[in-house]
């Protein structure tokens, strides 16, 4: 009897102690878009280091697919339980800022050094003179091509979209029966990537997607219609017939395995896939190079997309201050480099001090694929790169970018065009839908 009572007592004490212990811990939820196992592991290591210094805080990381992030964030916000910190597109950050959901990050900027944040990525989520998001790492969408084939065919770097199609056609290969065995280009049909490319091509064609003063969509302008014409030409000549069904990773599989000669939306991450999946002896920069993208008929300069999700901190989350502490810790050089080195050609440093750091540069893969990294820097330093759907930095003041991105209107415009609808008609249809959406959201100013 006594023994039984003692056991019950011990169980109760233990239970209460663990409850109290659990209750004291602050659980900070962090969502990010780096889902590769080695990145998750490195991120966890940073978390472990942070938790050692802050025993009252537990950080729970969750890696989400890039294309899923916005929908999940929205669902979490609708449910009233946003994560404490999360990655987001620049348009997402702008939209959340406009709705008053974000905590400013001036304190983080002060700790990591305002001047230490690399200029090309400062504007990703910078509103009314304050940082509301500091990118975890930037990179650029690259034109990746089969250098060996390009050289063997004696081709010249394309300047315009028409030149580009000619080059892509020259790199195609057919068997003796006339069947295509290698396409000139591979593009993802994924909605997010179509949004990205439409923004990028419009900029490279000297166009715009929204009127900066009124926010009215400008899809029917000549420069956007020409983008649709370019999509049509690509579909008719050099893309695989089912490209609309291809995901991002499919395009890398196509390139690595020789089914396609070029990628227009390649990223540094692809170097890893190429090393892994290309035929033996070919998975190297001698076979897979990068070149400057061409511009459109109405444009003079090329353009690329910046992939640099800012960290966002939700002020109505449970532990925004603790999340801010964690992000400050994340950017500490020795911690940050661990993270960057997990995908060294893709995760470039946000911090200038880290870019120059010998510890950061002492990475074999980084050295091997340096040509790719230099191409990233080319776009950044010449101010040629912008975030998804952003042509001018002023577009980030428009509060409906997230809704336009999510709605699929831009994607439908492209699919309408490549499925045979005249480009002008597809643009007019998308214009009407976008205007209607903006009006319904209450943002109409024209």
């Amino acid at each position: 009897m006594r023994k039984g009572a003692l056991i019950v007592f011990l169980v109760l004490v233990l239970g209460m102690t663990s409850f109290a212990w659990g209750a004291d811990k602050k659980v900070v939820r962090v969502w990010h878009t780096e889902t590769e196992p080695q990145t998750i592991a490195a991120f966890q290591q940073i978390i472990n280091d942070f938790e050692k210094l802050h025993p009252d805080i537990t950080i729970k990381q969750e890696g989400l697919a890039w294309g899923d992030l916005e929908a999940k964030l929205t669902a979490a916000l609708a449910a009233g339980s946003p994560p404490d910190a999360a990655h987001g597109q620049a348009v997402t950050c702008a939209s959340f800022y406009a709705k008053g959901l974000l905590r400013d990050q001036e304190d983080i900027a002060a700790v990591i050094g305002r001047d230490n944040i690399w200029e090309p990525v400062r504007m990703q989520c910078f509103h009314d003179g304050k940082y509301y998001g500091i990118p975890h790492s930037p990179n650029v969408s690259l034109l990746i091509y089969r250098k060996d084939i390009f050289k063997a065919k004696g081709l010249k770097q394309p300047e315009t979209w028409d030149d580009f199609i000619k080059v892509a056609q020259a790199m195609m290969e057919r068997d003796k029966d006339g069947r295509v065995t290698r396409y000139g280009l591979s593009l993802p049909g994924t909605p997010l990537f179509i949004n990205i490319l439409v923004g990028e091509l419009t900029r490279a064609n000297g166009g715009r997607l929204f009127d900066l003063k009124t926010g009215r969509p400008t899809f029917t302008e000549k420069q956007v219609v020409q983008v649709l014409d370019f999509y049509k030409k690509l579909t008719d000549t050099v893309l695989p017939p089912g490209w609309l069904g291809h995901g991002y990773l499919d395009t890398f599989a196509n390139l690595a395995t020789g089914k396609a000669a070029m990628l227009y939306q390649g990223y540094g991450r692809g170097a890893g896939y190429i090393e892994k999946y290309a035929p033996k002896g070919t998975g190297n920069p001698e076979h897979f190079g990068v070149m400057v993208k061409p511009h459109g008929p109405s444009g003079k300069r090329t353009a690329a997309q910046i992939d640099a999700e800012p960290w966002m901190i939700f002020k109505n989350a449970k532990y925004p201050e603790e999340a801010a502490e964690f992000i400050k810790f994340f950017f500490k050089e020795e911690e940050y480099i661990k993270y960057l080195h997990t995908v060294p050609i893709h995760l470039l440093p946000t911090l200038k001090s880290v870019q120059k750091s010998p510890a950061y540069q002492a990475n074999e893969m980084y050295q091997r694929w340096r040509e790719w990294v230099e191409m990233d820097y080319y776009y950044f330093e010449k101010d040629l790169a912008r975030p998804t759907l952003i042509i001018d930095w002023g577009d980030l003041k428009l509060p409906f970018g997230l809704e336009i991105l999510g709605s699929g209107i831009v994607v439908d415009m492209v699919t309408d065009a490549v499925r045979g609808m005249p480009s002008a008609q597809a643009a007019a249809k998308a214009q009407a839908r976008a205007e209607e959406l903006i009006t319904k959201l209450g943002y109409k100013r024209w």
């Binding site: 916005e70 017939p241 069904g245 995901g247 959201l441």
Partner: protein
């Protein structure tokens, strides 16, 4: 008849009021519906009964009626999905959808998807059930294997099918090309074929439910019926039409009803097959469109209006179905 007697109820109105027709002219000894004096054991029993079903009633109210009622209310609002502001706009969302081309396209795509998947599930499920009702070596194993698609999680099934159907490295194209059936690979997940692919995948995934239901009924049909039909010289087809079909029509009624509801509201399979591809637009059925309006356009009111419309369509179709097949409904 309980055998208990009840006191005469007091007249509701003073004399002069028209007497209400007696529902039970048999007299006072018969039990009556309505108010029961507090002292009777029946009253206690009724109260106790109400108490015992109260949790279930509460759950039904909380989990079924409340969400439906809230959706109805939400459909009358202009509401951002996560921004707290909302505005009552009456039926404006419904008027908007009436003119919305995407809505009609989604309705059409959803109908095409539902009808074809239900049709092939029934045909395949009944055929497979008939085969598996026969005796042959390894029947138990085959029965277990056939159920496999229904048991695996949808996400696994979708990944599997996407891999099989991939136009550059998929097994399906590989074999079709290897056997010379096709000259060029087909883009199964591209705009032209994605509806066909999602129908095939859905039929594969869900026909075991039909199989299982029909097989269970087949096993209860008395063999004497078939023996008698055979004696009368009925062929296999005639035995199916005149013996099997009448026997399974009750369960078939229920299965078609359930599968119709489930396929019309099917979200996960369609979303996952189309997600991550521009071609997803060509399988944007009504549930997917409702999701998109709510969580990608961020228009919760319109999303709710779509859900209400789906609900209304299902209710109307179910009522019509019940009226058309009244007899089968009774058996089912």
């Amino acid at each position: 008849m309980t055998g208990l007697s009840y006191p005469e109820p007091k007249p509701e109105k003073p004399s002069g009021a028209r007497p209400r027709p007696e529902s039970n002219p048999a007299g006072a000894s018969a039990p009556r519906r309505g108010w029961i004096p507090a002292t009777t054991p029946e009253r206690h029993q009724q109260l106790w009964g109400l108490l015992t079903i109260a949790p279930a009633l509460f759950l039904i109210l909380a989990l079924t009626l409340y969400p439906v009622a809230y959706s109805l209310w939400l459909s009358l609002l202009e509401k951002h999905s996560f921004f707290p502001q909302e505005r009552f706009i009456g039926l404006e969302n419904y008027f908007y959808l009436w003119k919305d081309e995407e809505f009609w396209t989604s309705l059409w795509l959803g109908t095409v998807y539902s009808i074809w998947t239900i049709f092939f599930q029934i045909v395949l499920g009944v055929a497979a059930a008939l085969i598996l009702n026969e005796t042959f070596v390894g029947r138990g194993l085959v029965r277990a294997i056939v159920l496999f698609p229904y048991m695996i999680p949808t996400i696994v099934a979708v990944i599997l099918w996407k891999w099989l159907l991939n136009d550059t490295y998929g097994v399906v194209n590989y074999w079709l090309l290897a056997f010379g059936i096709m000259r060029d690979p087909i883009s199964w997940l591209g705009a032209d074929h994605i509806m066909l692919s999602v129908i095939v995948m859905s039929v594969w995934q869900f026909f075991p439910f039909v199989l299982l239901s029909i097989l269970a009924r087949l096993q209860t049909i008395p063999p004497e019926l078939y023996e008698a039909a055979k004696v009368d010289g009925a062929s296999a087809v005639r035995r199916f039409i005149h013996v099997t079909l009448p026997q399974i029509r009750g369960i078939l009624f229920v299965v078609i009803l359930l599968r119709s509801i489930w396929m019309f509201t099917k979200f996960d399979t369609v979303w996952l097959m189309g997600e991550g591809a521009g071609a997803g637009r060509f399988i944007r059925t009504l549930p997917v469109y409702a999701y998109m309006r709510t969580l990608t356009y961020y228009q919760a009111g319109l999303g709710a209006a779509l859900a209400v419309i789906m609900f209304a369509i299902l209710v109307v179709c179910t009522v019509v179905y019940f009226r058309m097949f009244r007899e089968e409904a009774d058996i089912g």
